[in-house]
């Protein structure tokens, strides 16, 4: 059963390669991030994409958040994060390709734990994308509780886009 507004997000481990301003081109070692530890007491905008470097995600979804991250944070949001089923090295490279630096936290749910726990995954096997891929959605999470959830019903970016989220902040 998929997560809903009012629910508490699951406590799972995601990974990310921390941004290092002194060595912006070099990949740092991926670190684990426990969702409850990292998000407790904070307001978080988390958007999920089916795949780094894929057309819709790269042309539409990510760039909107990258350019509007500061605007989002100005509305009482502590963290803007992107999560996908790709591994942390791929997420890091994709973030760098969009020049996000430390404005968007690029999170990896490579094991599919987070996606499975919230019930928002699809089987990408037919497309040869692997059996567990996060769906496209955006969440506003306040002290671990889901305040807003926009799950994209079809192709394209509407309720999970930066504009829709900003309207709810």
């Amino acid at each position: 059963m998929a997560i809903q507004v009012g629910d508490t997000i699951p406590n799972t481990v995601l990974t990310y390669a921390p941004y290092n301003p002194e060595h912006a081109d070099v990949c740092s070692v991926p670190q684990p991030m426990n969702t409850h530890d990292a998000f407790k007491g904070k307001r978080v905008v988390l958007f999920a994409v089916p795949g780094a470097f894929t057309p819709t995600c790269s042309e539409t979804h990510m760039p909107e958040y990258a350019t509007r991250a500061a605007e989002i944070k100005a509305k009482n949001v502590d963290i803007v994060a992107c999560v996908a089923s790709n591994d942390p090295f791929v997420m890091d490279a994709w973030g760098k390709a969009h020049g996000v630096k430390d404005s968007v936290l690029m999170l990896s749910d490579a094991n599919g734990e987070f996606g499975s726990a919230i019930g928002l995954v699809n089987d990408g096997t037919k497309m040869r994308m692997g059996p567990i891929r996060l769906a496209r959605f955006a969440m506003i999470i306040n002290d671990l509780k889901v305040e807003y959830l926009g799950v994209e019903p079809a192709r394209g970016v509407t309720v999970s886009g930066a504009a829709s989220v900003i309207a709810k902040l």
Partner: protein
Amino acid sequence: MTIKAGDEFPQVQLKYIPFNAANPDACLSPQVLDTKKDFAGKKVVVVGVPGAFTPTCSAQHLPAYVAKADEIKAKGVDLIVFTSSNDFFVLSAWGNSAGVKDKIIMAGDANGDLGRATGLSMDFSKFGLGPQRLTRFAAVIDDGKVEHLFTEPDPSDVTVTSADNLLSVL
């Protein structure tokens, strides 16, 4: 069961985005690479890596093959394929960032079919990559038969799977 020299290379479908010579920035439609049909009657070098955009793979493994691709093909190799457990979009982006163009087919094994069929996958969870990833290997396949197979004893290093070592056996 793990594949070894002398075996038939298994038949799996990988996916890749072909290089668009006319307009390199525009993506062409993804194509299926069938490791039996597309390798028939050909000499193929297949290199498996744990992860696109990872340090060793990006700094050491792929660039050497890009630089020596022509030299490898001059020794009678028809196709060079790089593959990993990433999906084909990621492989394509990685290839673009390394200037691969059409020298190497960057094919994704996101479904894990090749890893399962060859037995060449490992648990890379402690590196943050996940429980089932292709390990680092390089194979020379002649008309479907594995002529040489090198598996890196320590997958975070590049020794026997390097382009230079492949050239020495071709």
